[in-house]
């Protein structure tokens, strides 16, 4: 544990140092990044050692009589620590060229402080071993990420996004802490170890409350809609960290408290699975309708949280049915997808950040042709898109394959799990197809074709420190996709914290699955290479001419005539209208001499509109009526206090 503390200390120094060095912009960034990276790398050693040897690290200190800080690292926490530390390193490196405004030096310094605090608090969340430590780390995480989001607080839209995020994260925390209160009344202490003794029906209540609270962090439908506000507002490396790892802390919370509650009621698994299906499909349909590239990626995170929940739900159902193989495949599929998502989502946010930095445009339909101008960004973004669509031979396929496999195995236990299996498989298929449409749309409109605006035309490649992390991440996507053995084993090891994994059947299955995937990937490479050779041969001594795109006889095509992202998605969105209703503003063209017209379309988030209308508004109306209590007269306020004390004296 001491090594881990040293690494956290280094990360903290990396956060504090810029405050002193803010006069020298580049040195400040350099030192900060160096310390943060050194801390993360140092932290990786004890994590890896603990994870692979299967030993538990613990640490405990009392600060007051009642509160104690207690940390413990088991397999599950170690599994989460890998992406936290690794992605933070890459995010920090990326920030070197991304944070390129020397005139905002002090703001940048503060941003680095909160960046390091966010990392430390996330490490503490997964290490926390009692309710107090967990709550403390959770709050620091929420607040530091809030300050990271409002980096550009001068802009009104950023402040609004920050407000959204703040409300969500605090209301979520409130529900989590309320459930901690319930736990405390039953167990009488703040420790994790006695949680499982509470009665079964209370367990269900606590789990549902925690699911809502953690869900608001993870981005589960219908409490997801801070993501599409906060991600576009935050700097790109912050969105990458938040989407790549911070929202996974919600998933961590769900898994951790599922273990601690130790309930095997099948309803829990069914709830998680049902919300997974809804969140997954809803997220990707919304993503397809977005026109802001970072909003799109935010909704795609919602979708991937859905896939992770589908895997978790499968695992939980497996535990309830006492089917270890089903459970182990479900959990390890979910965990592996979580790891994968932290890789490719970070990559995609970094790519989007590079595009936005170099063009100043966030709207997909104003970009185009960037692959020619930003080669590395384009190719890494392409790899990230292939991976996130779950296509072989990239890592997204591996996690989804495990969950599919679990779904099919579930069919065998027909009476209890045919319907869940059916939903698992079909929702994954639907999500896969929609993700493919969504990400071909992004690549096709942003990186291919002709530039639609001047800014897109003059775009240049981003700085080296931005490209290197993206290259590393895309290499990781390919590596896990081709050689998933180690990573599947890691996910299985982590699932051991959740359940007893029967070694024999699991091991043989893991070896079989991973070797099959490796074989399939190599086969794909082999055949593609062969065809490539044949094609080269076929093109030997041939005349290759360049010409403009065939416009069916039309000789003066302009970039404005290209298909746009809106039109690409129109048909699919029309089909999924109930999930993503479009607000279209388009005056009808009529008369012999029609006036100039325009076309505005916006996809509305049904969760957002309904929550605002049906929950927030009534609450505001009620509180408006109570405003008279807060009148500003100090005498009466003292009276309130006196009154409260008298009431308390009567009861206690």
């Amino acid at each position: 544990m001491n090594e881990l503390f040293l690494s956290l200390l280094l990360i903290l120094i990396g956060g504090l140092l810029p405050l002193l060095l803010s006069r020298r912009f580049n040195a400040m960034k350099m030192f900060s990044i160096l310390f943060i990276c050194a801390g993360c790398i140092l932290g990786l050693f004890p994590v890896a050692k603990g994870f692979f040897s299967g030993s538990k690290l613990t640490f405990e200190v009392d600060i007051y009589q009642y509160f104690s800080i207690s940390l413990q690292m088991d397999g599950l926490s170690a599994f989460f620590l890998f992406p936290i530390l690794l992605i933070t390193i890459l995010g920090a490196i990326y920030s070197f060229h991304y944070m390129n405004k020397p005139e905002k030096a002090f703001k940048t310094a503060v941003s680095y402080l909160f960046f390091s605090l966010l990392t430390i608090s996330m490490v503490c969340v997964v290490l926390a071993n009692n309710l107090f430590t967990f709550a403390l780390a959770w709050e620091i995480m929420s607040l530091s990420s809030f300050f990271l989001v409002i980096y550009d607080y001068e802009k009104e839209i950023v402040r609004k996004a920050g407000y959204y995020y703040f409300v969500f994260t605090q209301v979520g925390a409130l529900i989590i802490f309320a459930s901690f209160g319930i736990l405390f009344t039953f167990t009488g202490n703040l420790g994790f170890s006695s949680i499982h003794i509470i009665p079964e029906n209370i367990k269900l209540l606590v789990f549902i409350m925690l699911f809502i609270g953690f869900g608001s962090k993870a981005g589960i439908f219908p409490v997801h809609f801070w993501l599409p506000h906060a991600h576009p507002a935050a700097p790109s490396h912050v969105s990458a960290i938040m989407s790549g790892i911070m929202i996974k802390m919600g998933i961590y919370g769900i898994i951790r408290f599922y273990i601690l509650l130790g309930s095997s009621a099948i309803i829990i698994g069914q709830i998680v699975l049902a919300f997974g299906v809804i969140t997954g499909i809803y997220g990707i349909v919304q993503a397809l309708g977005q026109n802001n590239i970072k909003r799109l990626l935010a909704y795609s995170s919602v979708e991937n949280i859905g896939i992770i929940l589908i895997g978790l739900g499968t695992g939980m159902i497996g535990i309830s049915l006492k089917q270890p193989l089903l459970a182990a495949l479900g959990f390890s599929g979910a965990l592996l997808h979580l790891l994968n998502h932290s890789i490719f989502k970070t990559l995609l946010f970094m790519g989007a950040g590079a595009v936005i930095q170099k063009t100043g445009i966030e709207t997909i339909d104003q970009l185009g042709g960037l692959l020619k101008r930003m080669k590395v960004t384009g190719i890494t973004f392409l790899i990230g898109s292939l991976a996130i669509s779950g296509l072989p031979p990239f890592n997204g396929f591996v996690g989804e394959f495990l969950i599919y496999y679990a779904g099919f195995i579930g069919i065998s236990f027909m009476e209890q799990s045919f319907i869940p299996s059916y939903f698992i498989i079909l929702s994954l298929a639907l999500i896969g197809g929609l993700a493919l449409a969504c990400f071909t749309r992004v690549i096709g409109i942003v990186f291919l074709g002709e530039p639609r605006t001047k800014n897109a035309e003059i775009a240049k490649e981003g700085g080296k420190s931005m490209l290197i992390p993206m290259a590393i991440l895309s290499a990781a996507c390919l590596f896990i996709g081709v050689l998933p053995g180690l990573f599947i084993r890691m996910a299985v090891t982590a699932s051991k914290s959740i359940m007893v994994v029967p070694e024999d059947i699991m091991l043989s299955n893991v070896i079989k699955i991973s070797s099959n995937i490796t074989f399939a990937a190599l086969l794909l490479f082999g055949v593609v290479a062969l065809v490539f050779l044949l094609r080269t041969f076929a093109y030997k001594n041939k005349t290759i001419t360049k010409s403009s795109t065939w416009g069916c006889g039309f000789t003066k095509p302009t970039p404005r005539m290209q298909y746009t992202g809106v039109s690409f998605a129109a048909m699919i969105l029309d089909f999924f209208k109930p999930l993503a209703p479009a607000k279209i503003d388009h005056p009808v063209i009529s008369g012999h001499f029609p006036k100039p017209t325009y076309y505005h379309s916006k996809i509305t988030d049904i969760a957002e509109t309904n929550v605002l209308k049906r929950v927030v508004k009534p609450i505001l109306v009620v509180f408006d009526k109570l405003r008279w209590i807060q009148h500003g007269d100090i005498h009466l306020y003292i009276g309130y206090i006196l009154f409260a004390i008298i009431i308390l004296l009567l009861f206690i």
Binding site: L371, P392, I411, Y422, G433, G444, I445, T549
Partner: protein, 305 residues
């Protein structure tokens, strides 16, 4: 060894079978039609030519034909042709194969958007949409197959000693599956009534418009890839219709080729007697196949053999 020969035969005959459709359509139209070897002539002609590339395109445009044909070839490697042992097979290969088709679609769509042509954009949008719906049917069929066989590989479904075929005990609901798979075949291979391979340069098409800018050997690879994909789907239907254990390899092969001829003839007849549906109607047509597959699943769930 016999698997390799069968694979070679299948690949070599794919262009021939595609011509059968054209011949049937010509017959219904009262025309003589092109010779049965027309597709070979076309492929050879295309391979001899050079290429014209649009200035808008990038390397993705050239990568797309390679991926398309590679995927079609790999998929055939896993197919138990005429009930023989496929060259490769593993537990879960069906999921891999369906996702491979996804990979090839990904690149076809990107190549279409790469040209900056509005026509190709239109085609890609449709391709992306319809395949989502077709995939639902395919996975429902996989669930049904898993219910029957407890396996996840094509060889387990259609190989030696197979349990899934029309004239097994489980047979009757498979009529629905065959129909569903037939609709998916028409969708995924861009045939009438979803898409019309005969129309060129019109706003009504999907596949043909996406490959509008490809030329020369690239186009040949795409065409061949499409023909191989069609023969893959048709072979699946053939396997469902008839279990190929007639004793000798020769009899199996003959039965397989004959049934394929029948299926291609059927596609030709379908194309001759119905017109392409309106684009807004197509999703309903594809979802009809989903409903069929779902119904078959329910029947098998209630009356397991």
């Amino acid at each position: 060894m016999s698997s390799f020969i069968l694979l070679a035969i299948t690949i070599l005959l794919a262009p021939f079978y595609a011509a059968v459709i054209q011949k049937v359509k010509a017959f219904f139209g009262g025309k003589k039609g092109p010779p049965l070897l027309i597709n070979y002539f076309t492929l050879i002609k295309l391979f001899k030519k050079g290429s014209v590339y649009s200035e808008s395109t990038t390397f993705i445009f050239k990568l797309s034909p390679i991926i398309t044909i590679s995927v079609s070839l790999i998929v055939l490697l896993f197919l138990p042709i005429a009930g023989s042992q496929p060259i490769f097979s593993f537990q879960g290969d069906v999921i891999f194969l369906l996702y491979l088709f996804g990979l090839s679609r990904f690149f076809t769509i990107l190549a279409g958007l790469d040209t900056a042509s509005p026509f190709e954009g239109m085609g890609t949008a449709r391709e992306a949409f319809f395949s989502i719906l077709a995939e639902l049917t395919l996975f429902t069929i996989l669930i049904l197959f898993y219910l029957i066989s407890n396996k996840l590989s094509l060889f387990a479904y259609f190989g030696k000693g197979q349990s899934i075929a029309l004239w097994q005990t489980i047979g009757t609901p498979l009529i629905l599956v065959i129909l569903a798979l037939y609709i998916v075949t028409l969708t995924e291979n861009c045939r009438v009534p979803v898409d019309d391979p005969a129309t060129h340069l019109e706003l009504t098409m999907i596949h043909e418009v996406m490959i509008l800018d490809h030329s020369g050997p690239d186009l040949a690879l795409l065409e061949l890839g499409a023909q191989l994909k069609l023969i893959f789907y048709s072979s699946l239907i053939a396997c469902l219709i008839c279990p190929f254990h007639l004793g000798s390899l020769l009899a199996n092969t003959a039965a397989y080729l004959l049934i394929l001829l029948g299926i291609y003839g059927m596609i030709g007849i379908t194309e001759s007697v119905i017109a392409r549906y309106k684009m807004t109607k197509t999703p309903k047509f594809i979802l009809f196949s989903f409903a069929l597959a779902l119904f078959a699943t329910v029947v098998i769930l209630e009356f397991p053999s």
